[in-house]
Symmetry: C2
């Protein structure tokens, strides 16, 4: 692997030209002082890795000519959609960082009864995710969604068969729940914010086909519960 690799979203790549912008541009050109003519590595967050030569430089971007490309195999044993009730920024940053390193497919911040009422800086969350996938040599960037009301989100995932909701009082393990969906490798996982989901919220999820599962016998903070649940799902399919 290249020691330094820069992220370019797919919509900034056309034929053989990739446009490096924003933080990634600044890190490459201003911090690492790469010059026109030098070769660098790029990735698009969807598994494509490029070698490219730095070309035309402006103050805020540079045009890179792609000289070779390869596909990084996606190594995750399952696709996980992780939806978490909005919690304080520090804990949220940690979940996004860890979930990106672990290879979660999509992260959804949910507005629930006990959610922390605050803004969601998706640009900042995206930066944390980019940094984390780079560090972990995971070339698949999770999609980070805008906050959405729980009710609307439940409707949006209705068609996915394997859906789990964390409930401390429940005794069914993730393993047992997933055994009901043999062969189905897309899993939707719902975790409440600090203070948990309201019993009515759990009932709504169950009415939409979610299975309540116990993530761990001890009571875990939201950010730890998310990591443990994601790991347990991957472990099930491994």
């Amino acid at each position: 692997m290249h020691q330094f690799i820069f992220y370019v979203p797919s919509n900034k790549i056309t034929d053989d030209i990739a446009i490096l912008e924003g933080d990634e541009f600044r890190h490459c050109i201003q911090v690492l002082r790469k010059k026109a003519g030098e070769e660098i590595a790029l990735f698009n967050g969807q598994g494509d890795i490029y070698t490219a030569r730095i070309g035309g430089l402006t103050k805020n971007s540079c045009e890179c000519r792609i000289t070779s490309r390869k596909k990084a195999e996606r190594q995750m044993p399952a696709d996980i959609i992780l939806a978490v009730g909005l919690i304080k920024s520090k804990a949220l940053n940690l979940i996004i960082r860890e979930a990106s390193a672990l290879g979660v497919t999509q992260f959804v911040p949910l507005l629930t009864k006990h959610s922390v009422k605050q803004g969601f800086n998706s640009e900042r969350m995206r930066k944390i995710a980019i940094e984390s996938v780079k560090q972990s040599s995971n070339f698949y960037l999770p999609e980070i969604c805008q906050p959405i009301e729980l009710k609307n989100w439940l409707d949006s995932v209705a068609s996915v068969p394997a859906k789990l909701v964390a409930e401390q009082e429940n005794s069914m393990s993730i393993k047992s729940a997933l055994n009901r969906y043999a062969g189905d490798k897309k899993v939707v996982l719902l975790i409440g914010p600090e203070g948990g989901l309201h019993s009515e919220e759990i009932e709504s999820a169950v009415a939409k086909g979610f299975i309540p599962v116990n993530i761990h016998s001890n009571r875990l903070r939201t950010e730890l519960a998310a990591i443990v649940a994601v790991t347990s799902i991957f472990a099930h399919f491994n």
Copy 2:
């Protein structure tokens, strides 16, 4: 469960008297302003939970008379000894906190080639562990050892059959490795510091019977690797 519960080590409990001291004393008496004659809950970190009545108060301690006791069942499916190369305090605090919530039995900070050279404040680590077991309703406090040289530690765990060492380049999963030890529910887990274990250190571990395992297909920071490995071991026995 009691909303507030205070930690008293077993050596401060004789017959029906428990001596509350230090931070736990200050929290109980100075912060929560509990008075002589009031009933409180205590735990000894080994699964024993007591109801006790506050008695004689001094400036730094109080004598509590135990009125009832019960045993919290240990719910962990395995005993995990987690040994991690010494890393920066912030990451170390996080591992101790998470490992305590998850129910690890023993935590060992290791001196290895790439360990961060720094002091190890075991009193502070113990406080983090106490706070975390309380929050997670886990009444079993992990033993937190003093830092030890890798070589000496390898000798000390020689008699345990199931021993795993994390190695990114390896392809054996935790599940496959543990399948070699059917029924053996005590697992020793060795994880390097940032920068990993030196190849000679991995060789020494293997020579002592450790099996190298791949914790995750992506490269994880030490603190995340520890949580993921612990979760995968528990998931295996669940």
